[in-house]
Each structure stands twice: as C-alpha cells, then as structure tokens.
Symmetry: C2
Subunit: 426 residues, 2 copies
C-alpha cells in the first residue's frame, strides 16, 4: 500500500496531480477504432464476421442467437444460481421502480400551458463483455432499468467464442428480458449498434462496460447515438476510524482489488493504528485468494492509505477522490451523509459490504469510476428516458408576450423570429 500523509491541502494537491498524470493519449487505438467503424458502416455484417475471425478467432455463420439456444443455456444453469439471479432481479426492480419519473404540467399563467413529458427510448443496445469478465449480474444491472423505463426493444451484444456464449450469461439475459442477442464484440459491435447492419438493428443508446476498444468506440459514436458513460478502472474508498473492524475493511478493499490490476482500493482514516492493522490484514488475507496476483498488483500499485487529521478532513479528501464505491465505517454513519458530495454508491456501517451492492441489494453496480462521480450518476431508469417540453399559448397569452419576444429577437438580429410572432396579429 502507498501511504499518503500530510496536511489536508498537501493531500488534496497530491491527489489532483495524480489525476493529471493519468490523462492518456490513445491515438493509435482511436485510429484503429475509426477504421473499424468505417468498415462496419460500409460492409455491415460481412465486416462484423471478418472482425470476429480476426479478433475472436471464431468463424460465424449466424450473428443472431436463437431463442432455442438461449433456452438451452438457461436450462443448463444450476437451479440455485437461477434462484439467486431471480432474487437479485426482484431487488433491482423494486429499487429502480422508485426512479420512475412523472410528466408534469404547469398552468400558472392564464392561457399558457407548459409541461414536460417523460418518454422511453425506443431501442437500446447493451454491451456484455466476454471471457473472464462475463458477469451475469451486469446483464441484470444494464437491462432491468431499461425495461422499467419502458424501452420497447433491448438488443444485447457479446463477443463470440468457440465455446459459445456462457450459459449463465444467456440465462441472465432471459431473466432480465433481453429481446435479441447478437454474438459480436469489440468496437465492431458498437459500430453495428450505432449505424445498424443487415441483421443488427440501429439503436438509440448504447450502455454497458467494455475494454479500451469498446470504450473508444462508444466515445466515437457518441452523438450519433447516446451512450452511458466512459468506464475506467473500478475503485473503492473506505472512510473509517479506530472503531472499525480492520478485517472487514481489508476484505472489502481486496474485493475491489481482485477485479483487475488497475483497480484502486483506498482507505481514508484518522487512525494510524487502524491503518497499520488494515495493511497487515490485507497481506494476511491476500495469501489465500485465488486471484492473489491480480489483487496484489492492484494493492501495491494503486492501493492507498491516507491519514487525515480530522473527521471533516476525511470527507473533504474523499470528496476529491469521488469514489465509485464509498464505504463509511464510522459509528452512526447516517449522521455523516450530508458530508458526502461525490460518490457513486454509498455503503453505511459494518454490514453494508460493497459486494452487497454488486450482487444483491438492488442498487445499480454500473457506477461512475475514476473520479467521474463528480458529474456522472449510477446507471438508472433516467438513462433510458428522455424528456420533451410541451407549450401551448392562447392568442390572448401570446398578445401579452409578443412585444418582449419581438424585442429580444431583434436585439439578437433575428428579424424572422420577431415577425413569426407578429404575423399572428396582422
């Protein structure tokens, strides 16, 4: 673990410098992705199949996964896993239903109606990574909020493999209610969703995490379609004082660290003693982890223990980090909620261990990473709707407004705007 000590100002300066260093330039990948997208626009399915052969070493006859294949995969999954996925689904649905928004209408002024409609996106694409990062829980997290929003058609794409799509992924897709699955991955799948091909339909928005090629492709097609966010390495921040249990903290830091070698696990505490115990405990627990090598690299390269001088300083520092996951392991944690300005998902107390949110509680686990919780939100129902404004004016109401409108329009040099209103009174 790297230790960071000093005054709050010194710590904040060090954290900001670290962020600046992390700005990378991926021009080569960007150029490759640009070419892949152009190929898919021009050659459609043929391009997709060529890239699958090249990148995934799979020769595909069909991109589309049939209902029969999905049902077969589902049946092969152990009953208890299906049950756990169904239980998780129930919690995800009950949480996300509370995010549903309502239209509003405003009739404050005589003869004027103003309103806002909440409308679902028509068609959404969900990217599901393949290989060792194929997570059924993520399928639920990406798809269910879209279903609740009222999206008509949900298209899932996932990389092909010689062994086929993992059964548990097919099962999760069936449980979540995916409408169509295509076996295509990487930047080419993002291009297919953004522009459409003979078999893959064009969608309105693409969500779901992926590797650097997927992330770069999402950024490039952003504007042609909507996207959720650019996901970076995952992180956990834990605020704890001397009353906290070092073993719980170490275990939770490691659950983040095992994700990948770039994952960040950060403890902010005002207790030197706790910090030392946590560090010792991490190395003790590490020994028996199957993903020991990954977790160890993450801890040594990106793990951080920050010693703050006061409770207030702990929160100031954590707000600058703006962690994806934030655990508050203080006594009476709810009394500190108002101190938190930036965090994707907040876990309070000794028993809200972060994996509870990954798998079960129903809050979303697709979260803003790498400090982007300063401006991004967890994936939610709001990501799958858009708003439309509605305005109605009577002639009398427009008569009241017309001089101000014409004046401002002319001030901006837009005479036709002024006349459009004045024509109504000729």
């Amino acid at each position: 673990m790297n230790w960071l000590t000093g005054s709050t100002t010194e710590i904040l300066t060090a954290l900001k410098a670290e962020v600046k260093l992390a700005q990378e330039d991926n021009q080569e990948i960007e150029e490759q992705v640009r070419q892949i997208i152009q190929q898919v626009i021009q050659n459609g399915d043929k391009a997709l199949k060529n890239y699958s052969k090249k990148f995934d070493q799979v020769e595909l006859k069909d991109l589309f996964i049939s209902k029969e294949t999905i049902d077969l995969g589902y049946k092969r999954v152990e009953d208890e896993v299906i049950k756990a996925l169904e239980a998780a689904k129930e919690n995800i649905v009950s949480y996300h239903q509370k995010q549903k928004q309502h239209d509003f209408m405003d009739t404050e002024k005589p003869g004027v109606l103003r309103g806002q409609l909440v409308l679902p996106l028509a068609r959404v694409g969900v990217y599901v990574p393949g290989g060792t990062a194929a997570y059924p829980s993520s399928v639920l997290m990406n798809v269910l909020p879209a279903k609740i929003a009222g999206v008509e058609e949900i298209i899932m794409v996932t990389p092909p493999s010689v062994d086929g799509i993992p059964d548990v992924i097919l099962a999760a897709a069936k449980i979540a209610g995916v409408d169509k699955i295509f076996q295509v991955g990487g930047a080419q799948s993002i291009a297919a969703l953004a522009y459409g091909t003979e078999t893959v339909p064009k969608v309105d928005k693409i969500v779901g995490p992926g590797n650097i090629y997927v992330a770069t492709a999402k950024k490039q097609v952003f504007g042609t379609v909507g996207i959720d966010m650019i996901a970076g390495p995952s992180e956990i921040g834990i605020i704890a004082d001397e009353t906290a249990n070092p073993a719980y903290i170490a275990a939770d830091l490691l659950s983040q660290a095992e994700h990948d070698t770039l994952a960040r696990a950060i403890l902010v505490t005002d207790s030197n003693q706790l910090a030392e115990r946590v560090e010792k405990e991490i190395y003790r627990q590490l020994e028996t982890l199957p993903r020991k090598e990954i977790a160890k690299q993450a801890i040594e390269n990106h793990g951080m223990i920050i010693i703050a001088s006061t409770v207030a300083a702990m929160f100031t520092i954590m707000n600058e980090i703006a962690p994806e996951h934030l655990e508050v392991q203080l006594l009476d944690p709810i009394s500190y909620l108002h101190e938190i300005k930036n965090a994707g998902s907040i876990f309070l107390g000794d028993y809200a261990s972060e994996p509870v949110g990954d798998y079960f509680s129903g809050t979303n686990h697709v979260l803003p990473t790498s400090g982007t919780a300063k401006f991004y939100s967890p994936l939610g129902v709001y990501d799958f709707v858009k708003y439309s404004q509605v305005t109605y004016y009577t002639k009398e109401a427009l008569a009241q407004a017309k001089d101000a409108i014409a004046l401002l329009a002319r001030k901006e040099g837009l005479e036709a705007h002024a006349r459009a209103v004045e024509y109504r009174f000729k």
Copy 2:
C-alpha cells in the same frame, strides 16, 4: 423547398438514407483540436493568450472580466431589454423549478435501507459563442437551470473581441447569476475548463453551444468532465393539415431558416393544397427578410415538404425526423400528444409559435438537434445534478442475503467478493 412524396415506407427509407449520408469525418479538425488541448494542458494561460492572438486577433492582458466591466456593460443596455430579459428569467425559473427532483428512501425490507440522493455539481462551465451568434437568451437558458440545481460556481467563457464582450451578454450573465467570466473562446476555452489553468478553474461539466471546434473539443474532453450534448444544425418540424394558416407556418419555418444555411425547416402535411400555399408564402415572406440570403439557402438546400397520406403517417414520419422543435398545427392539438415519440420541444396550436420558446415561455431553448431527440433531452435542471445511491444493512439483513451473494460472486470467479461478506460472520 424539396418535396418528398410516396408511401410512408418510401418516405421513411428516404429519411434514413439522408441521415447516413450526413455522417461526416472531421479528422483534420479533430487533430487540430487535440493539439490545442495538449497545448493548454502544458502551457495554461500562456497557450490561451497565444490562441486568442492567433484565432481572435486580440492581444489579451487579462482573461478575467472584472465585476466593474460587467456592471458597466449591464448599465449600457436599454432598460426595456433588461426588463424583457428579467421577464424571460422569471418564466425560465418558474418552469425549471418544476424539474427539481427529491431524494428517495426505501425501507421495504427489514433491516435494509436503500436510497438515492440528488446532489448538485460543484462547478459548471458555460460556453457562450461570440460574434453574430452571441445570444443573451442562451446565457439565461444555460445558466439558470444550473443555478436552480444548486451549482455552487458557474464559470462563463466567451471569445474575446477587440470591441470587448457585447454589453447585452454581460447583462444577461449578471441577470442569470454567472459567478466568473473569462474571455477565451474556441477549443482552447473548452480545454481550459476541462483541465484548469492558472486562472481558469477546472469544472465538472461544460455546457453551451459552439462551432465545430468547440463541439469537437467537447467530445474530446468528454469523460474528463461531463458535457451536455453535441449540437448540430438547428431544425423545426411542423405538422399541419388543411385547417392551418399557411402564413403562420411559413413564418415559423423561416424563423428557423434564418439561423444558418444548414438549418432545416420541414413541413409534414396531408394536404397538398396547404403545402403549395406554404411554399408560395415562404418565398413571399423571404423577400423582405434582412437575413434573406441565409434563410433562402437553408430553405432551398435543407427545407422539406413531406406529403403524408394520413394523420397517423404524419406522426410516424415526424417521429423518425425527431425534430428539435415540433409544431402541431392541427385542430385540437392536445389530442395528438400521445402520438409524439421524439421531439425536443413541442408547440401546440396556432399561437405557440416557436420563438415563444426561444425567448419567453420559460421552457429551455437548448435542445437536441439533428434527430438526437430520439435519445437526448432539452437542457434542464437534471443536467446539473448527479445521483448517489445509499445502502445500509443490519447484520441480520446481511445474514439473509449472504448465501446468494457468495454464490453469485463465486459463479463469477470473484472469491474475494464472497469472502468479504462471509468475514462478517466468522
């Protein structure tokens, strides 16, 4: 005007083909913008001043506009313009206040608390274009929703000019409550807001329209900071039948066309007769417009009259266009609201002329353009907040959940996730 006729399917196919053609590749601009951003990261204010000299032909001593300069500008603006801006502000505030969202909390399950906090962004940057596209109304539209959301600090950037920033822009900034103004424009100003310089503070999100350099820069910094949307050329779509007034329709189409030569003005009607009258009326009204040349080019290159066979077909076609502004000039327009799937701002009836929304009604005029209303929303209070999830579990509640969590974690090969939960019960 270009006429588009045929079956609904033929019309939809033609519209989709048009969208595909419009996909451009701006590699050269992207490369220039990339270099500008790198320069600003490396050289800060010095780079900003160099670019101002090069692109705006202005040698700047100070980037910061003092409060005295703003107050002086405000005082030089005619009283009636100030009054009109204040009236517009009042309507914008009263509309956008209805967009404010509340935290929620869910205690359905014993020992479990789940919730969502709505938190304002801390600092936002607003880009305000210079030159002939300097619109005080846009300052209000971009800044006021951020104020209502509770953003602490709003930074405005706008290109320098030898004549200084226009008085009416300074006045609008003062009325809207901008905290700081810097005279810097183009891609360099976006870089400054995204990364911070000696004088320009780093922000969490950048909003506001700009030219292709500004739009490209926003796309490149997206992920480092949040951005609103990528704005393209503006458009209006009007649905009307034989009961509508051709002069009103023509005037409203022209109010869009005068914006710029790429602006799109589209009439969808089931009445051939109305279409002919509108076309004639457009050329009649065009003659006396100060921005005749711009409007004429827009009408001739991008203006469109589409003849639909039924009322339902009019809406199907318009939903495919997904216009920024949509006017419904039918009798009893409210009865058709449910037919509208994609539109930024909807104007109902004869008197809700589109400029009402640009200047006065209080709905936002920063809207999704070029068909992006399929997935983007008008700028609103929701653009200046983010959500944080909150989870609390008692030991008993975690005991209920732990087996499902451990099972799913192990199924995904994430042993440390399973152990983090199980540690609580050792």
